[in-house]
Subunit: 212 residues, 2 copies
Amino acid sequence: MAYRRTERTEARLAQTRERVLRSAHELIATGGYRAAGVAAVAARADVATGTVYRHFPGKAELFAEVFRRASQREVDAVTQASTGEGPVQERMAAAVETFARRALRGRRLAWALIAEPVDPLVEAERLCFRRAYRDAFSTLLEDGVRRGELPAHHLELTAAAIVGALAEALVGPLAPAAPDADPDVLIADLVAFCLRALPARKDLSDGHQLPA
Amino acid sequence: MAYRRTERTEARLAQTRERVLRSAHELIATGGYRAAGVAAVAARADVATGTVYRHFPGKAELFAEVFRRASQREVDAVTQASTGEGPVQERMAAAVETFARRALRGRRLAWALIAEPVDPLVEAERLCFRRAYRDAFSTLLEDGVRRGELPAHHLELTAAAIVGALAEALVGPLAPAAPDADPDVLIADLVAFCLRALPARKDLSDGHQLPA
DNA sequence: GGAAGAACTGAACTGTGGTTCATTTCTTAC
DNA sequence: GTAAGAAATGAACCACAGTTCAGTTCTTCC
C-alpha cells in the first residue's frame, strides 16, 4: 500500500465538505432553492461540479443536510426560548417572538425552510422540521396543562395551528413583501394572537377533550 | 374566403377547451401537480398533446386557469358562509367550518391549491387565492369592528394568521395523513381555536391599533 | 524520485417533460 | 365536388438540470 489518507488530508476533505455545505446554505439564504444548482454550489465553494459528488450521493442528499442543520438551529432557538419555569403565557410569548424575530431577520432562508418548493427528499427533511416546531409548542402546552395553567385540549392541533399562523403571517405568501410596518409591532400582534388562541383554564366551551 | 368558424365549430372548440380544463383539474385532484403532465392531460381529454397548445399558450397558463377556477369556488364558499347578519363569532365559525369541511373532503385538491410545489406562474395564481381567503376573513373582521363586536386591531394579520392556522392544521405537512380522529371533532377544535384567537371587545392589552 | 492510488476536474452524457411543426384530417363556402 | 384554409395529430425536438467518468493532478510512502 502506497497511499492512505493522512490526518491532514482527512481534515482538508472535511473542510471542503463543509465549504460545499456552507456554499449551498448561502445560496439558499440568498436566492432560494432555485438559485442553488449543483454547478452554482460547486463554483461558490471553489470546487468542480464533480467534486460535490465525492462528498454527497446527490443534490437531494446535500440539501437535505443543509436543511437539517439550518432547521435544527431554528428549532433549538425556539425550544430554548420556550423552556423555563415561568408561566406558560410568558414562555409562549418568548417562543413566538423568537420564531418571528429570526424569521424576519432571514426571510429568504425562512421561506426556503418553511414554504419553498423542494425535492421530495428535502421535503421529508422539512416535514421533520415542521413537526419539530409543532412538538416544541406542543410540549410547552402540555407543560401548561400539567401545571394547571391550561385546560386539557387537543394540544397537537393547537400547536400545529400556531405554527401555521406564524408561518403564514411571517413568511408565507401573505407576508408583506416589504415590511413597511415596524417588525416590533408585527411581532407584538403575533404574540397577542397566539396568546389569545390558548384556551383559558375556565373555558369549558371546548366541549370535549382528547387524551395525550 | 372559404372558411370561417361556424357557431357549431365554435361550440365544439369551447367544449374541447373545457374538457382539457376538466381533465387537468381531475388529474390534480387525484394525483397532484406531478401527475398532471401535458401528455396525461391530453390523453385524458382524448386529444393529442399538440391540441392542448391550440387552446393554451403553455402548461403554466393552463394550470393557472385551473387554479383560478378551483380557488374561486372555494373562496366563494367561504365568503358566502361568512356573509350574513349574525354576530361575528357565528359567521367566523361558519366560515372556518366551511373551509375545513371542503378541505377535508378533497384533501389532494386542497393540498394542490394551498401547498403543493407549482410553477411560478401558477404560484402567482395561488397567491391571489390565499389573498382572497385572507380578504374574506379580513372583511368579516372589519364588519365586526364596525358593529362594535370586535376592537380595532391589525385585521390583516389576524386574518392571515387564521388562514395559516387552517391551512397547516388541515392540509399542511402537519395534518394527520390518515384522519383517525372524527373530522367533526377536528373541525370543532379548529373553530374553537379561531374564535379564541379573535380579540375580545374589552381586550385592551393589544397596546396599539392600526388604521384601515 | 517515483510508483500506486486517491482526489479533482469539467466537458460530455442522460433522462425528463414541455414545446414545436410538417403532415393529415376535417370545415366551410361556392 | 372541390378548393382554401383551419384544426388536430404525435413523433421529433429541445432546454435544462443532475450526474458521470476518462483524464489530470495531487498525496502518500518507500
